[in-house]
Subunit: 352 residues, 2 copies
Amino acid sequence: MSIELIGWDIGGAHLKAVALNGAGEIVAVLQEPCPLWLGLDRLHDAMNRILNVFAPGPGCRHALTMTGELVDFFENREQGVLALVQATTQCCSQNSVRVFAGPDGFLDPMAITAESAPKIASANWLASALWVAANVRDALFVDIGSTTTDIAPICGHRVRTRGYTDFERMRYDELIYCGVVRTPAMALADRAPFEGEWVGIMAEHFATAADVYRLCGELPDYADQAPAADGGEKTVRGSARRLARLFGRDAESASLKQWRRAARFFRERQLAKLHSALDCQLSRGLMDDDAPLIGAGVGRFLVRELAGRLGFPYKDFSELFSMVTPQNDFYASDCAPAAAVACLAMREVGPT
Amino acid sequence: MSIELIGWDIGGAHLKAVALNGAGEIVAVLQEPCPLWLGLDRLHDAMNRILNVFAPGPGCRHALTMTGELVDFFENREQGVLALVQATTQCCSQNSVRVFAGPDGFLDPMAITAESAPKIASANWLASALWVAANVRDALFVDIGSTTTDIAPICGHRVRTRGYTDFERMRYDELIYCGVVRTPAMALADRAPFEGEWVGIMAEHFATAADVYRLCGELPDYADQAPAADGGEKTVRGSARRLARLFGRDAESASLKQWRRAARFFRERQLAKLHSALDCQLSRGLMDDDAPLIGAGVGRFLVRELAGRLGFPYKDFSELFSMVTPQNDFYASDCAPAAAVACLAMREVGPT
């Protein structure tokens, strides 16, 4: 595997990496669990695991984007950004690393100051959106990951979002805090139907979106790298047991069919939440009726469904890349910002 | 047209009639606007218009069901039931009329007392549900009409609803007060996205579901017999103007595309409302996963969509009847209770 450049996306819970060859083609995609709130050694471990698999030569370059600076291990975002950049340069030789700073392009780690931090913090969505904009004239980009959903309208090859920071993006419904793996089920509904009645739901971390989508038969195995809410088994039975607890019940007290139906209710609530956010974007009237929804993230099966509901064609983010080797489980779509930041960096410096 | 029996469904806003021949086959379906809250003469007019078209012979029998007793023209439901039965016997010879009283079967108008009224009042949904139960072992029956939606689970050829009166049925999410023509848009949402912002909606009778579905391109022309909210033209332009008023805007202030998008938002809110009600029914666990959703009413295009979302097969109510002549615009599905009450009455007495 001849690797010219690796794009890294350091999340709060996962580390994602996409490797390019000298022609700018994707040759490998990898994701490792990385519970960053437990400390920077988790990042070192995950990064080294990936570097061992990729085994890049000494000339390999690295492009970095992140959201991990928000975890409560860090005092604030600025400290987080600086610490994550430093940790990366400890694993990859410093002068091979460039850091994505949105409108300021790629920065040398040595040049990063406190002022750079707000542009670097949680800018990974912008890498993805810029890559879409470079390739597609009009589109609505939707990346549904394990934890969050990023939404970015692209119009005339320009990213037309209104927020930049997480706060601004949540204000404009461009960052929706729900995904298909880690989102606690209690954040999706506070009441649910069961046995024909509407029942209150326990606001306890008993079950997650992974349980919901496992019961619905839609969760890609490879996507589920986070521990289950109870630390227990990641099986249909385990998910039913966890979901049952939200209702104050045991799994054995009802049929699996009924727990699957309950899971579909939480799924529908999540779709409704995302649908509202997309409606808000679409109400700006920027997009043509035949512009696609472009789906990324391990939850992009929901983007396909939402496109149908909204009446737009669907296109997969992976179609915007060329890939030359058979993949492991992960596609470019699963690690969209890592793939995008790699390709943007390759283009900025030019292929060798 | 040899007509043996006519099934009548007297609603608050529409009069519906289905004619059977001696073999119990449907030979005609008709619906006439009938704003009953304006007085009983509206019912006489509508009924006579239909009788003129059907032109039944002197031996023709009549089976009656209703919801019209709830209009505020009547002091209470009992008075309404008695008045509607009497009005019917003034148009159709008295001893040819039988009135559907749910579990008590069909009553002779002469035998109807104050005690019968609660069984007769708003029992039209039960006629439809009983006909489904007679023909299909397990199903979820959903009749989305101009104004309301009826939901009835059928299990083991039995109707498994928990409510009987409108009040009880609303308590159990079996009667949902929304339909695809008359429902005021303000009852579907109090905020809506427009130009990228969430905007409050005027709680005025400015636009109805007919405007929503006309803008979405889904409203069957023949179904839209109620006047528009402003009494104006029933065109896409007229609907955009009415919807715009809800936002405090004029239609000209934005593109038709934007008003269509706003309409889709209201449509989605209605679907979400119905989806929740169906979730509640399904959470009883009565139905097999392969049991169909059976759709009726002029809004049954939404039942088909909801079946897809819920993961059940779809079946049309019209498939439960045999029809021998080409229809006008109306199908048995459009006037489900009238068709059902006709077939139930025919079966109770037996075909001649």
